[in-house]
């Protein structure tokens, strides 16, 4: 029986050796990044992104964003740190869309790979985990993929995010609808049982109340549910003018499909996540028409930035040339995190964490992604734009008005009249 212990012990040693990877365990735990880079100087960024698993697609968008930016900026010599230019190196791992793995990998990046600064993963769970490790080791992290306010209300000093806060997601869409039709008062809200979606729902519920709209139906459905026809049926009985969804892509598609099945009609439809990505249109075809999505960035927005790309269109063109498809906001958000670091490092004149932190907090600079400015909690202060699907099968930016490609079509006709 106790021979198990010998086996256990040897397995432990083997496990820790394997876990420690090829390099022997670090002798000195000097995880504090160097104050000034030596010549020739490089800045090493570390990131754990979901390249496999549930959010593999978005993870890939993020990774491509990081890689393209690093390549382009290195062509110009890298970041300006004080009087010299330092090239960038990225050490990236696959966190398999798993929060625990993300934390493990970030810890490895900091303690064994000795990265200087951290870039965030994609997805609420991994961002929660990874940011906790960044805070543990006091290494600044800017993340492109977590919009939950709860990530930022932990009093952490080392985390910044480039996606606008979840509670504000649907505000622009509601504003736009109200501007178009002040008589549309009744709202039905479908809420996914998920941390991000719940925050979106809480935020929009308060906003609706503030603006004097009536929430006639509001119901939560289990995450990953297969069937929302009961909810659609109950909502239909309340005759809503507007249907809103605090959701992700799969359930947004589900709600639309089953609303059509049940005959739930509305003059306007908007979802927090789903319609802002190309897959939504591919999956739903003509049924996607008229539906609104919210997004922090599209190639059509007319930002003028003081960064390597300058305008959204230039970024989109460069991205398409390199990867063969038009970038989504995930990639833009990812690049924005690196630009945030760039500007902060330039202003600080060093990559020393304390200085970088200070500059990130003070940051206020126009970029191809819009104005890069963080709230005191660390989340970007930026309004969401609105897109709508048109019957040519494409998604167009319709809000803000200054950058609108097309006009908002309202009202959406009933399903049987299309």
């Amino acid at each position: 029986m106790k021979i198990h212990l010998l086996v256990l012990l040897s397995l432990w040693v083997v496990a820790s050796l394997i876990a420690g990877c090829a390099t022997p365990p670090a002798a000195a735990p000097a995880a504090q990044p160097t104050a000034a880079p030596a010549k020739p100087c490089t800045i090493t960024f570390g990131a754990a992104v979901s390249l496999t698993g549930a959010t593999a697609k978005e993870g890939e968008y993020v990774k491509n964003g990081y890689n393209m930016f690093i390549e382009d900026i290195n062509k110009e010599g890298g970041f300006k740190v004080g009087s010299q230019k330092c090239t960038l190196v990225l050490k990236i791992y696959d966190d398999e869309s798993n929060a625990d793995t993300s934390a493990k990998l970030i810890e490895k990046l900091v303690t064994e790979d000795k990265v200087n600064l951290l870039l965030g993963p994609y997805g609420t769970g991994p961002v929660f985990s990874a940011s906790a490790i960044a805070e543990k080791y006091d290494v600044p992290m800017v993340e492109p993929g977590g919009a939950g306010m709860k990530i930022f209300t932990r009093g952490f000093k080392n985390v910044w995010g480039t996606l606008p806060a979840a509670p504000n997601y649907l505000n622009s869409a509601v504003d736009m609808i109200m501007a178009k039709d002040p008589s549309a008062k009744n709202v039905a809200l479908f809420i996914e049982n998920d941390s991000f979606s719940q925050e979106v729902a809480d935020g929009i519920t308060a906003y609706l109340k503030q603006k004097g709209l009536n929430l006639v139906y509001s119901e939560q459905y289990p995450k990953g549910t297969k069937d929302v026809s009961s909810l659609a049926t109950a909502a239909k009985a309340k005759n809503p003018d507007i249907v809103l969804g605090a959701s992700h892509l799969a359930d947004a598609e589900l709600v639309v499909k089953q609303a059509k099945d049940i005959g739930l009609n509305a003059k306007a439809w908007a979802f927090s996540v789903g319609p802002s990505t190309a897959e939504f249109g591919t999956a739903l075809g003509k049924d996607a028409t008229y539906i609104l999505g919210v997004t922090p960035w599209t190639p059509a927005m007319k930002f003028q930035g003081q960064d390597i790309y300058g305008t959204p269109q230039k970024f989109a063109d460069a991205f398409k040339a390199k990867y063969g498809y038009v970038p989504s906001y995930h990639s833009a958000s990812a690049v924005a995190t690196m630009i945030a670091f760039q500007k902060a490092i330039e202003a600080a004149g060093s990559i020393e964490p304390k200085a970088v932190r200070e500059q990130l907090n003070k940051l206020d600079v126009p970029t191809f992604y819009g104005q890069l400015k963080f709230s005191p909690e660390g989340i970007i202060v930026k309004p969401m734009g609105v897109v709508q699907w048109f019957d040519d099968g494409n998604m167009y930016t319709i809000w803000p008005k200054e950058v609108a490609e097309k006009d908002f079509i309202y009202p959406a006709p009933a399903w049987d009249k299309r």
């Binding site: 029986m1 106790k2 021979i3 198990h4 212990l5 010998l6 086996v7 256990l8 012990l9 397995l11 432990w12 083997v14 496990a15 820790s16 394997i18 876990a19 420690g20 990877c21 365990p25 670090a26 002798a27 000195a28 735990p29 000097a30 995880a31 504090q32 390249l51 496999t52 696959d94 398999e96 929060a99 625990d100 793995t101 934390a103 493990k104 810890e107 900091v110 303690t111 064994e112 609420t124 769970g125 929660f128 985990s129 906790a132 805070e135 543990k136 080791y137 006091d138 709860k150 209300t153 932990r154 009093g155 049982n193 941390s195 979606s197 719940q198 925050e199 809480d202 939560q220 995450k223």
Partner: protein, 363 residues
Amino acid sequence: MSNPKPETQNQKSKMPVTRWDMLLGPRRNIVYVVVCAVALAALLFLPRMSLSGFVLTSLTTALLLAVRAQAWNFIGGYTGYAAFGNVAFYGLGAYGTAILMTKLHWPFLPAMLIGGVVATVYAVIVGLPVLRMRGQYFAIATLGVAEATRELVSSPQLSKLTAGPTGINLPFFRPEGLSGAAAAAVGSRYFYYVAVGLLVFVVLVTWLLTRSKLGYSLVAIREDEDAAKMLGINTTWAKVAAFAMSAFFTGLVGGHYAYWRTFILPEEVFNVRYTLEGILSAVLGGPGTILGPVVGGAIYDAVSTFLTFSKPFGIDLGQFHVTILGLFIVMVIIFLPRGVADFFGRHKFSLGMFLENVRQNRV
């Protein structure tokens, strides 16, 4: 239906039953104790070896897996009731700890203990009806309980207490007067030692169980529940006790996780993955033995880590990580259904043992 069960070679028999026992002779108990002490000392000494924070964290994860596997062993291994819903206790332990620390500002260790108690109470309440079922029904009923618990905890109805789907942020572990790497090192060690403590605790309790009347009752229930009842064993009480013990330790691990990770989200902390890892580790190592699950946990964690990090022949296994784990499970189940403990139980160690296992179980 009868459930033929694996032999367990260390069931209190004073007669040598395995070849190791025969090899070591009459002094074997002393040898066992010494080896135990050495292993424990090694575990306690490891952090002083200037290991990187990453290695320490990996070891902590492995330790917690071993505790979860050992906890499952009470109900699954000794009692023979394959519970598939232990993650419910994990989540409840996490939530209990989180709520006590955030709303009532309790310190960590008492909060973790009460988190475990919350899970235990829940296990008793739920166990009384659910343990009446046997075999497959029990297994899926517990799976259902886990799903239902998750839904309940994250529902709007309870969100005043649990914050619903948005989860709870716990206080951050900040040692006095330190920052950066130094603080992180203290943190890593702290959680590592707590995990070691949990492991020692659960192994001790398991050992005590095997020497107690309850332990005998459980094995009797596993071998033949009706006969056990006829012998006058209060099977209901015994089963609930095993279930409660399983819940307690799983809840403790949940509490540890909550504080260690600094946040809990219902979709993370009620993820069925935690149950399955525990069961697989226990089965891999040898259910119904004192240290089987611990060994199984070590092996499982090593394989998992290997798949995540290593690139044999330059092939990135990351995308096949879970597939390979699945294959690994299937292979183990077919060729080694009684776990690694089989190696120590048989009289003759040979490759023929694998084929023998298959022959016993095939159609």
